[in-house]
Amino acid sequence: MSDRLDIPLPADTPLPPITAPSLEEVPPSFNQERPTPLDANMISARRRPRAVVLVYAIELVWALLIAAPVHAWARRVYGTHPDGDAVLWAPGGRELLGWLGGLDAAFGVTMRTSILLLVIGAVVSQVLTGALLVSLGTERPGRRAIRARTALAEGINLWLPMTCVLIVASAVGLALLGAGVGLGLAFDRALIPSFGDATAFKVGFGLAAFSLLLACLTGVYFDLVRAAIAREATVDRAALTAASRLWSGFKRGAKVGVGSYFAALREWSWRAAASFALLGVGWLASSALGGKGGFAVVALFVVHQAIVIGRIALRASYFARTLRIVG
């Protein structure tokens, strides 16, 4: 068949079938919802404040759910006190001890429910991990952040590999910590006759602390794996299975050079320190404002929520760095 438009075709020449173009064939400007990978140097959490706020909002809702059974129980027992539950948190702890040590069987049920909700929340929140990573590392036309529903959809797609990483990372971390504590205890016992228990304890504690450090170091590697999984999902849009994405992520994380790994470690270290410092601020705020009721509760809530947002922002900032490293 001739491609020339000026040569008429025979009347019985069959016409090619009309088919819709696939998403891959459509130029990006025509697909408003598909995330486009950002250049690695452009990835920054400061560009995605709404993503941080969205993560915070969703986690707040889930935290309220986790707290609901405990709150309902406290309300049932102390809600009719003229001072409300402020008396529960008053200095001395008499009411608190009575409540926790009470013979009310509902306490056990309440705590188990909250713990179960926490575990479910931790697993389900891997959707947020994927969504946040994708949001940080992509854009839509006009250099705008992708929509929340797009990010969540991507997060759902990545939930399974992200959850697998969480499980593997937790297992490795706990195994390292367990081995370190076990080794520490063994050294503690073995060294007492020769060095006395104070020195033996320091050695044992040091070993356990070192194992905690190792667990944190491997955690950084798993963060790189998460970033790699999210990055690959946006760069390579081919329909891969969760298992292959997972495997690909592990491989890509392992290929990160030593220099880049230590760069990630540096980024993690100061942010982790800042995060702990925020917890310390929360502790001080609780000491100053806790149990007073009235405006003090509102002030404490504001301070605590600012701390939570701050920690999420630190985490998002760290994710952005890991995306840059694997990108």
């Binding site: 993560v55 986690e59 707040l60 889930w62 935290a63 986790i66 707290a67 405990v70 709150h71 406290a74 309300r75 027992v77 102390y78 809600g79 009719t80 006190h81 003229p82 001072d83 409300g84 529960l88 948190w89 200095p91 001395g92 702890g93 008499r94 009411e95 608190l96 001890l97 009575g98 409540w99 040590g101 009470g102 909250s114 926490l118 929340g121 931790a122 929140s125 947020l128 991990t129 969480l166 937790s170 007492i192 006395g196 228990d197 104070a198 020195t199 304890f201 320091k202 929360g282 609780s286 000491s287 806790g290 009721g293 509760v297 404490l300 809530f301 605590h304 939570v308 999420i312 985490r315």
Partner: protein, 654 residues
Amino acid sequence: MRRWLGAVALLSLAAVPFTEAAADGSAPTPATDVMTPMAEHADKVVGYTLRATLDPVSHTVHGEGTVSWKNVSEKPVSELWFHLYLNAFKNQRSVFMREPVGGFRGTTIPKDWGTIDLRKLTLDGIDLMPKVELRRPSDEDETDARVPLPREVAPGETITLEMTWDDKLPTVVERTGYDGSFHMVAQWFPKIAKIEKDGTFAHFPFHHLGEFYADYGTYDVTLDVPHDYVIGATGPKVASKKTEGGRLVERHVQDDVHDFAWTAWNQWRKRKETIDGVDVTILYPPNYDDIAERELETMRFALPHYGDRYGKYPYGVLTLVHPPSTSPEAGGMEYPTLITTGGGSWTPRGVHTIEMVTIHEFGHQYFYGLLASNEVKWPFLDEGLNSYAESEAMPHWKGAGSGLDLLGLTVGVAETHGERARHVVHDDKIAQPAYTFGSGTGYGSLVYSRTAAIVETLRRVYGDDKLRRTMRTYARRFRFKHPTPDDLIATFREVMGEAVATTLRTALFDKGWIDYAITHASSHPVHTAAGIFDLDGKRETVPEDKRARAGSHSGWVLVARRGTLALPVEIELIAEDGTKTRVPWDGDGDSMRVPYKGSSPLHGAIVDPDGKVLLDQDRSNDFTTLAGRSTKGAPNTWERATYWAEILLGGLSP
């Protein structure tokens, strides 16, 4: 908040001699002021002059010496009873090992057993050994030996016996024994049982639950150990020398005590300090310098504080022994002028376990050492009152968070005792012999915590000043005198009145308990009366729906008192406009209807708003908000639970 509480506590302490803070405003009884006479010395019944030689390789102690004993009873006696406590660890047939007690110390079987073997016992040259009865018929326990005497000992007569014995120390169990080269040598010599006024002896086998009881006297003990060992012992060191045979020989002498314990280890570190006129020595393992400093800090507070509360500590020395962490069973114990503490070298400063055990064991110097009641028959007189003393002292030093101050939560020692006490109120009596308790857990909760909670409740309800005077009177009056529960209750009666004494007796002897509860509350607007009225010769009928409002509100709250104890309490009525009114109730009767009148409706009520009745069995029924009124809910719990949930969730998610 804590700084304010500490300041208030300090101010209260400073103001004690000048205030009349009694709950009912009455003046103190003249005989019970702070100058209650206090014995300077004990009546001397025994005099031990002993020499002990330690072999740290075989963990044996060879002992020899004399004991003089005075018959201070009203009857002639023809026998003596000796405690041979170490035989409790001889085998599993001893009373100690046989008693099925769980939940307390000393439950482990020693890896190496212990014994005390009496080799020689003579009186006036007559050998008493052939007649010594180590056991009772059909019982293999050998801790309670009867020694028939060749003649009667008349009242007031003193005899002197010579004795020789050998100890084999067990691995550390129930406060005594060895661990490597560490030796804690307690209950190590044949000890004469206490003679009572009626000529009987307070003798008993060594029970698993229950401690000791003996007469006062003088202990002059020479200790012979390897030269590289450091010794800590009862009483001051009056002589010391190193012999050519590579031994260290130290002599310790102490009057007015009823026991003697010592320790020897080649790893001890030592610090000395004079605190409130007392030479305090602390022995501690290597690298425990921080812990040693904390324990000395505790003594800097405790010596003057307890001196003010219970009379000046009369001895010139005090030795603190912090055992190595591999021997925790050697810790947490008291002997005259020597206490053993405990706690890991890693214990952070915000966790007050080091301070609490130190202050608790020091407090025993008073209740165990200077009052010396029968710990086997009436354990609460020592452990219970001492637990109260510790829970009273700690807040003065550490504030509201005397037990725990962490993550914004403060928990007090007294509150911890109160909570523990609630769970065992119906299980058993407090005032009974130690070995009759069904379990170690019950023993601990009742004897320690419930007794402390009872006395603390009396303090809060009747006033700190009155309780302080009562305890001071008791401690001063009965110093060196082996008081009984009747003496304690009589002192309470004298200072605080018959009602308090009755409450105390019921609580200690009859499983006394109390639970205040608000059962009903009501509030309604006040109207003029309805009905038929004859006024100025005219009859008028006022129907109910035509009554005028008087512009005020009326109501009532019904408070029930459940249980066998009666304690004065306040009921706080809270009006809608925020006005609070407190109404006292002396606790008489099963219930009290508290009337309310005010310009706004009654909103709610609280019984015991200040939480004075620590014994209240159920605090959740102590308050109410009337139906239809707005409640404050649980915003604090909601806020904290949400925050903690967010933090935990944040550990696993972004």
